[in-house]
Every structure is written in C-alpha cells, then in structure tokens.
Amino acid sequence: MHGPSTGRMARRKLDEAGLVQYASSEPSAFAGMLGGLIEANVVADPDKRKDFDALAARVGIWVTDIDEGVTLVFDAGRLTVYNGLEPNRTLTIRAEAETVMSLSNLKIGLFGVPVYFDEVGRGVALKLMRGKLRIDGLLANIATLNRVTRVFSVQ
C-alpha cells in the first residue's frame, strides 16, 4: 500500500505560506473541500502554481442540489474562500454536485485548454448546452475560466 499525502498536511504547509485562507472562522464543508483541493493541486503541480500566481478573479460556485456555495477570491498567488456568494464576481458557476465534481475531473489539453471531447468533457459540455451547468460571465472571461479550471482540475 502506498499512503497518499493527506489533505490536512497540504493545508498546514500552505497555511504557513499564506496561500489559502478562509474568510469565516467556520468554513463550510464545501468551502473546506474546495480550498483543500486547490491547495493540494497547487502544491503538487508547478504549472498549476503558475496559474494560481497569475489568477486574479472572484469566482462563485453554487451547488444547486445542496443550496450551498462559495466564492473563491484569487488574488495573484493568494486565495480567500468565502462561505456563500459574495458580490462583484467575475464568474459564477451553478451546477449540481455531480457536475461540480466533473469540472474538477476535466483533463487539460493542448495550450492549457480543458478537454471537452472525452467522456467527462462531453458530459460537462452537454450539461452546459442543456442549462444544467450555468456559467455567468463566461463569454467575457473564457481565459479566466480556463485558468480556474486548470487550478481546480485534479487531472
């Protein structure tokens, strides 16, 4: 058995570096998961770290079937995770829990663009077309969305 590094350890390291913080002293489970996921991704992958360092955006994610959401405020190498949706968001993603998980499973292809032609990508694209995945601010912020997807993706 090979033990994976734990999310808890990754969080402690990053907290020391001050990369990710939580606006609330009691972050929601969803906020903790997203923050932890991004922390672990950024620590493990220098390319994701570059994207993280270059990202300045306010991204809302609302999970429609649990009525919970977060706002991720990326500030060029720092991330603050808020419980709920904060104002002045660059992008807002609204989808069911399963779709949010699919977004974090999108593969990243040539030129850092998410892959929409494999099984996971087709599923995401189909949900977008059917309105089951809504992204407010998409057209004006495609490059930001791609960068957020790269930081968010575990692939």
């Binding site: 919970e68 998980m101 974090s104």
Partner: protein, 140 residues
C-alpha cells in the same frame, strides 16, 4: 435474505458486489489505497458501538473487506466517518455520498485530489452497498 448491517456476512456480500461490478472495475483502475468507513455509534438507534469497515481496494478489485473496531478503519489511507443513521441514508440512497461530503454530513480524511479523481468509483461503491439486502438494527 437480509443480513445484519456491518456484520461479517454483510462485508462478504459487499465485497462480492464490488467485484461483480464492471463499472467499479473500470472506474477504480489505478486505485491502490485502503479505505476505512467509520460507523459511529447511535445507541438510541440500536447501534450501540462504533464499528469500522476496512476495505483493501486495489486496481479495480476489492481484495478484502472486513468489519472490526472503528480504530482499524481510522488507520486507513482514506477515512470516511459518519453516524450510523447517515450511513443508512447513503446505503438506502436517501443521501448521495458526494453531496454528503460537500455538506459535511460525511467527514473525509485523505488526499482530496485523489478521491475527486475517483468520484465515479466511489459512486459505484455506493451502488454496490445499496445492492446488499440489509436488516437495519433500528428496524429489527
């Protein structure tokens, strides 16, 4: 015939269901970590002691699934913890495990990117649990 939840016989049938699933076999390709499920006691639900389910899962196969003390499950690479009644909700498909984790109803310990990468496998694992006919302690 229904079997008692979190008994040795339940673990055996759960393992058989996992190994019968072609969906799991394909979705869990590359998985090489142990998973522990901690079922916390709820004496008022006739589940007086916490129990642990230790799952030795490797590359799309359940090599072993055992029920024992909660402490054994807590030593696994990934640990999911919830009270008895929450697990019952998951196994009866009243609560989706992914949603449960996002809501903090199921507490996860372990490397997040790895577990997210295997979302489909964990969903199928839940389906396998649901296929085992169970006699629930609070209903017996």
């Amino acid at each position: 015939m229904a079997i008692t939840f979190a008994s040795d016989e339940w673990a055996k049938q759960f393992k058989d269901e996992v190994n019968k699933s072609s969906v799991y076999k394909s979705a869990a390709k590359g998985w090489k970590w142990t998973v522990g499920l901690v079922v916390e006691a709820e004496p008022d639900k006739n589940f007086p002691e916490s129990r642990g389910v230790v799952m030795d899962l490797f590359d799309g196969e359940a090599r072993d699934i055992k029920v024992g003390p909660a402490a054994d499950a807590q030593k696994c690479d990934f640990v999911i913890t919830a009270p008895y009644s929450r697990w019952k909700q998951v196994a009866t498909k009243e609560l989706d495990a992914t949603k449960g984790m996002l809501q903090g109803k199921l507490k996860l310990k372990g490397d997040l990117p790895t577990i997210v990468r295997y979302t489909k496998a964990s969903q199928e694992m839940t389906e396998c649990t649901a296929r085992v006919p169970v006699e629930w302690p609070d209903e017996s």
